[in-house]
């Protein structure tokens, strides 16, 4: 049987109705039907009355004519269609002939009623299926929350990790590795040797005599970390300048203040540059 799309049920029924109303002789392709009951239901709709009030005799004739047509076209007819044809032919004879009182089983009328009822049940299910699929389908007509945090399982974090854990990991790692790998975020706080060199060179010419090295430190460093950084960098810068012969450095006693001054012979040169 053909698998028609979920949402095409009504289209399909419309098509069947159109086909059925143009006469059974034209509808000869069995592929479109789901068994003999399906054919009967399509034919029955042609009578346009409540299925419980249809003429089963007429329906039986239509079905038999339909099967005959199919056979004429030498289309393959499945056995169940033929069984139905035989049964309808039998029913037809029961309906046409006067009932014999002593005959066993249900009368022709009863059989016709049961058939009509079965068609009615099938039709009810067809209608129900259509209503069901055209109802308010969750996820199609009414949406669930798109990003549920999840009461049971957290979908958006198959890996559980809190910000605290993340920060702790970074801090712990940083702690473990020591200063060999400075944090980039610390760099703003660091007073680089290059900056110290530049500042020292710039200011040196302005001060004639021995001056405490700390006087060359930038004045705006509030953060003790930055200040220590500046002290160290300035000392390194001064040593570099001593090496280059631009500067003299002295310390009067152990742990005493470190003083610097420009080397006299160099002062003139550096001004010329």
């Amino acid at each position: 049987m053909k698998d028609n799309g979920l949402f095409n049920v009504s289209d399909r029924l419309d098509a069947e109705e159109a086909a059925a109303s143009s006469g059974p002789g034209l509808v000869v392709d069995l592929d479109g039907y789901e068994g003999p009951l399906d054919v009967l239901l399509v034919l029955a709709r042609d009578q346009k009355v409540d299925l419980l009030k249809i003429s089963i005799l007429e329906l039986a004739e239509q079905y038999l004519a339909f099967i005959e047509e199919v056979q004429k076209l030498r289309l393959e007819v499945a056995a169940d269609y033929l069984v139905m044809a035989a049964w309808l032919a039998y029913l037809k004879s029961r309906l046409l002939l006067p009932e014999e009182p002593e005959e066993d089983g249900p009368s022709g009328e009863e059989m016709a009623e049961r058939l009509a009822f079965q068609l009615k049940k099938l039709e009810a299910m067809r209608t129900a299926a259509e209503k069901l699929i055209n109802g308010q389908v969750t996820g199609r007509d009414r949406m669930r929350r798109g990003r549920p945090e999840g009461v049971k399982v957290v979908r958006h974090s198959r890996y559980d990790c809190s910000l605290r854990e993340l920060l702790q990991a970074y801090a712990a790692h940083k702690d473990r590795k020591g200063i060999k790998n400075p944090l980039r975020l610390m760099r703003n706080a660091i007073y680089t040797v290059e900056a110290a060199l530049e500042r020292l060179e710039r200011m040196l010419g302005k001060v004639p005599d021995w001056v405490d090295l700390t006087a060359y430190l930038p004045k705006n460093l509030k953060d003790p970390f930055s200040r220590r950084s500046a002290e160290a960098s300035t000392l390194l810068a001064s040593l570099q300048m001593v090496k280059e012969g631009q500067l003299e450095v002295r310390q009067a006693h152990l742990f005493g203040p470190i003083e610097v001054r420009a080397r006299r012979e160099k002062r003139q040169e550096s001004e010329d540059e």
């Binding site: 049987m1 049961r114 058939l115 079965q118 949406m143 549920p148």
Partner: protein, 200 residues
């Protein structure tokens, strides 16, 4: 009505966060003992009644869903659901309306044999389940629909199926065989079946 506002907030958070509808017991289990769950749900239901999001009862459980009149706006959020074949959809309806129902009863109503693929698709979708066995010769398995079926089709209860009460009243939901083609097919009287079902 004694819904503590803090309890209402908690239920609201739970229902928003849940991936599946929550039963009243699920909510009660997570709220303080003195929380009046029905009052809380009633209050939330009313509060969200006219909003873009509503509190809806599906399969006896509660969930927030977008308002039905706004579905046109949310085309992009549509979940990709597999399209059901006509046979599968019809079979699903037959099971939903007639449950518990055996395979051969489904075939009888539809007037056609059930291909294996159809039931597989419905099982795959999580919409049908075996319910038990009939106390009839052969003890055939009966089938019914699942909670997911109700949730998917936006139903609180099986009685909310479209036209369920009318169809039932009209006797259209009986599963007794019509015995129609018995004379022809089986040639003799089939043993009377006991429609009573035995839940395993």
């Amino acid at each position: 009505m004694t819904a503590n506002p803090e309890h209402v907030r908690m239920a609201e958070a739970l229902l928003f966060a849940a991936k599946e509808p929550l039963g009243e017991l699920d909510i009660a289990a997570r709220l303080p003992e003195d929380a009046d769950i029905p009052a809380i749900l009633d209050l939330l239901h009313k509060h969200y009644e006219h909003k873009g999001v509503n509190l809806v009862k599906l399969a006896g459980k509660w969930t927030f869903l977008t308002a039905p009149d706004l579905s046109w706006l949310l085309q992009d959020e549509k979940e990709n659901t597999r399209k059901l074949s006509r046979a599968a959809l019809e079979t699903l309806s037959v099971i939903a309306y007639h449950q518990p129902i055996t395979r051969s009863e489904i075939e009888e109503i539809r007037g056609v044999g059930l291909s294996r693929g159809v039931m597989d698709v419905l099982f795959d979708a999580g919409w049908i389940r075996p319910r038990g066995r009939r106390r009839t010769p052969g003890r055939p398995v009966t089938y019914g629909v699942t909670q997911e079926f109700l949730i998917h089709f936006g139903l609180d209860d099986i009685r909310d199926l479209p036209g369920f009460d009318e169809l039932k009243a009209a006797g259209l939901l009986q599963t007794e065989p019509s015995g129609l083609f018995d004379d022809l097919i089986r040639g003799d009287d089939a043993p009377p079946l006991d429609p009573e079902e035995e839940e395993d």
